[in-house]
Amino acid sequence: MRERSSGRVSAQVALPKRRRWLRWGAHWLIVLVVLLFFAMPVVWLLSVSFKPPQEWQAFPPTVIPRGPTLNNYLLLVNPELPKGSASYMLRVTEPVTKSFINSLIIVPIATLISAMVGFLAAYGVSRYRVGGDFMPFFVLTTRMFPPVAFAVPLLVYYQNLRLIDTRLGMIIIYAGFTVAFSLWMMKGFIDAVPRSVEEAAILDGASRWRVLFTITLPLVKGGLAATALFVFILNWTEFLYALIFTSTRSITVPVQLSHYVGAVGRFYGPQAALGVIASIPAVIFGYLIQRHLVTGFSFGLIRK
């Protein structure tokens, strides 16, 4: 029946063998180009991080270092390492350990606070509509505006409170400016839990707090973990607030990287090494919550 339409439906099957191969080949070619485009920059970063100084800008460029070395990584921890080459004369003045310790203290604590505060508020919004329509949207304002706009007044009164360049100050900022994500992500997860379970427990005489922590919390445990990991990535990679509100004592990893880029100029190897190390936690956690990334970045608007 109806030759025309059946021709369309089975176009792929009906093609002559050679054309089918051509099509398949073209498809794969595009996929490979795309893959190359997305992989190449990071491959280059990895490659530079294992190269000795004379190869950082060598021509012709090689992806696989001719004289692979771990020096770039070792220099990050121990700047006093024998340099061995003229390019290492510009030395890294500070080991990166301090910034890693700071990041490892600031980010997890801020993340925990953000996730917990977000969870509680999301429960209130989801079950009791606390704050009406206004509050959940008001929270979003922390993400809508360029952070630098908040930083201007914050700097002024952080100075008065002596919170500049302290871990506590950074923890407050990081918790507060990611709580919008926590609230909206958790609201999605809590909305998905049927109320009837909680209502039954309340009828049985359980207190509200008990219901919250022994019934709702276990049901959204996975969601809470995903939210926390997502917020962790955001905080781990955050740069602008850290740049403005820290100077020496409590600098974080991204700021440390920017110091390297700015201050020591052509020092690409160790910079690349630091870039690689700084990315690892974010990428690992990112793949752990791969399914939730879209939900996170869209404030729970889009879920898969």
Partner: protein
Amino acid sequence: MEAISEAKTKQGLLFTLGRHLNRESVFKLSLVAPLQLLLWFLLIIPFIIVIYLSFVKWQPVFGSWTEAPWVWFENFQKLFTEIRFLEALGRTLAIVVIAVTLEFIFALGLALLFTRNFFGKRLFTSVILYPMMLPWVVVGFIFYLLFLDHGLVNSILTTIFGATATISWLRHSVPAMSAIILGDVWQWTPFMFLLLYSGLSALPSEPKEAAMTLGATPWQIFRYVTFPSLKPVILIAIIIRALEAFKIFDLVFIMTGGGPGTATETLSIYIYQIGFRFGQLSYAAALAIVILITVSIVTRLAVRPLFEKEG
């Protein structure tokens, strides 16, 4: 004996406290109290301060900010006659428009490409996601490396076209802007792709098949069947990306620092330079207020309906 009665009163106290905490109104309040605390501390008090600051003439070197002279709208007047601000604004909007458009086109193409099944598809989808997890600073550094005078891009250009084809990317305004935009596109196309791809795979296949049976060409199917039903997702993706791109700072800061001169200065970089490098905090406050107002209007018009439809 005493101990027991003490324990009893303690228990009683806890009991009363517990009963109070359990009253519905108190319970509700304590759910949002921590959030309120954070918001007051980081949003409302700073907001009051920023309004105050924008009406006074103050720099940290002048002494205490509470005693600064009141100058009314001087800061705002200065702002709208300042060509550097207007340029930065224009540049930021240009980045938003160009980068988001490119991201959308690439992502849509990719998403359509990935609707077909092929070997290794799931692996590919996972692999190309990683750029959005990277710290922006690292992305900035990578593209800085690539676009150096002796960087990879120039090496490739030399190999193909000879030494005359190289460009000092980061030292001229247009090439530097292109490099920055490419960095943004590289990092955020995967996000757009993921949104559109999940949108596409969620669409029912019946309308498409029906259109096929009726003899529609692939283009017609895309234009009249797929695209309209994908529209909500597209809208969300574009708005979220546009708001994010408007804030662009890290990439520019690492790659060019706003230079050469002010050739790649975006709004965020401009405020950073004015407020935190040169210490003109009251002027920066006026800038911040203008941005707050502009973004609020845009948000009010574009974003809120999205969330309301959802809620």
